[in-house]
Amino acid sequence: MNEKRQRTDGPPPFEVALEEHGPRVHSWLTARVGPDRADDVFQETMIAALSAWDRARVESVRAWLFTIAQNKAIDEQRRDSRRPQPEAEMDAWPAAEVTDLLGDPVWDEVRALPEKQRVAVTLRFRGDLTHREIGSVMEISEPAARRNVFEGLKTLRERISDE
């Protein structure tokens, strides 16, 4: 077989990736864990990324950073013993007070979405990811990512217009 060796570029300069993607990762985290905890989780995310930076690749670094951010957000939630919550509620986010801090009632509606739609919609608009990247972060197919964004957005639109 004619095996073509694919040339893979090495990791990009950390600072370039930070400037290009950091603000969106941080912004997504403000919705994911709340504005008051976003800075800490963002730092955890970027430190974890930097520790494994040799694995970063120019073409996929953004989705990779969001994957780490997602994991760090879950860690943070599990650690958060200040507000003990039933297991089923673990993934319910944003927390109600986050909605207040973000100052927009649309986040109440986001909170009410099914988990997958909530992740997909926030990654799409707050994280500015492509459907393909969303699929990679959520470990689902690109069409499934697209469907989750579409359904989530549709529900939000209906509920907002009912207000």
């Binding site: 090495g10 990791p11 950390f14 600072e15 370039v16 950091g22 973000l102 957005l153």
Partner: protein, 207 residues
């Protein structure tokens, strides 16, 4: 409305050098450095010719990027050749280098006194650049003279390419190297910059 909903969801992410974002980046870099996760630090520096980059590694200044070079291109090259763990921050010896650059451009500094990290150049090229570093303020040398001083009088072209790839321009004064016929020759920062630096040093007087 559709687009309104989308922009409400998007919010306004931090950007550029705004205060909160700058502080967040600064504390991130501090922690990354404390955990030894950063290999190179750089800062931009405004000069009379345009924005320069000053890059430092553990041992000293490793690279000066000229205004004619693309910032991302310089960083990508460093990522490949040294390490991609590059952060932006104003640290020693970067701060000292920046103030010395200001003084030099103002004609108030004749010798840079900052630690240099020579790892981006080796062999004959490094010899040529070390000889270049020894050319006194306000003086000039020819490519042929440098080749000779570096130990290979016939390697004039190789001396030329060593100078063309000088990772530490200004500090290692490749602008003091001229063609044998006395013409200024090329310069990574453009001939006008080379001429301006030579003129400045001439006016301030040779060592």
């Amino acid at each position: 409305m559709n687009s309104e909903l989308e922009s409400r969801l998007a919010g306004r992410p931090a950007s550029g050098d705004n205060g909160a974002w700058a502080r967040l980046r600064e504390s991130l870099l501090e922690r990354a450095e404390a955990e030894a996760l950063i290999d190179l630090v750089y800062e931009r520096h405004d000069s009379p010719f345009g924005t320069l980059l000053v890059v430092a590694g553990d041992e000293g200044i490793v690279r000066i990027g000229l205004h004619t070079e693309d910032e991302e291109g310089v960083l990508e090259d460093l990522a490949r050749r040294i390490s991609p763990r590059i952060g932006r921050g104003n640290r020693q010896p970067i701060t000292a280098t920046r103030s010395q650059l200001d003084l030099y451009f103002a004609g108030d500094l004749r010798h840079f006194d900052v630690p240099l990290d020579w790892r981006l150049t080796r062999g004959f090229r490094r010899e040529v650049l070390r000889e270049t570093a020894a050319i006194p303020y306000g003086s000039t040398a020819s490519y042929a003279q440098l080749a000779e001083r570096a130990g290979s009088p016939r390697a004039v072209r190789a001396a030329g390419s060593a100078l063309a790839t000088n990772p530490l321009p200004i500090i290692v004064p490749c602008h003091r190297v001229l063609r044998s016929d006395g013409s200024v020759g090329s310069y990574a920062g453009g001939s006008p910059m080379k001429e301006a630096l030579l003129k400045l040093e001439r006016e301030k007087g040779a060592d």
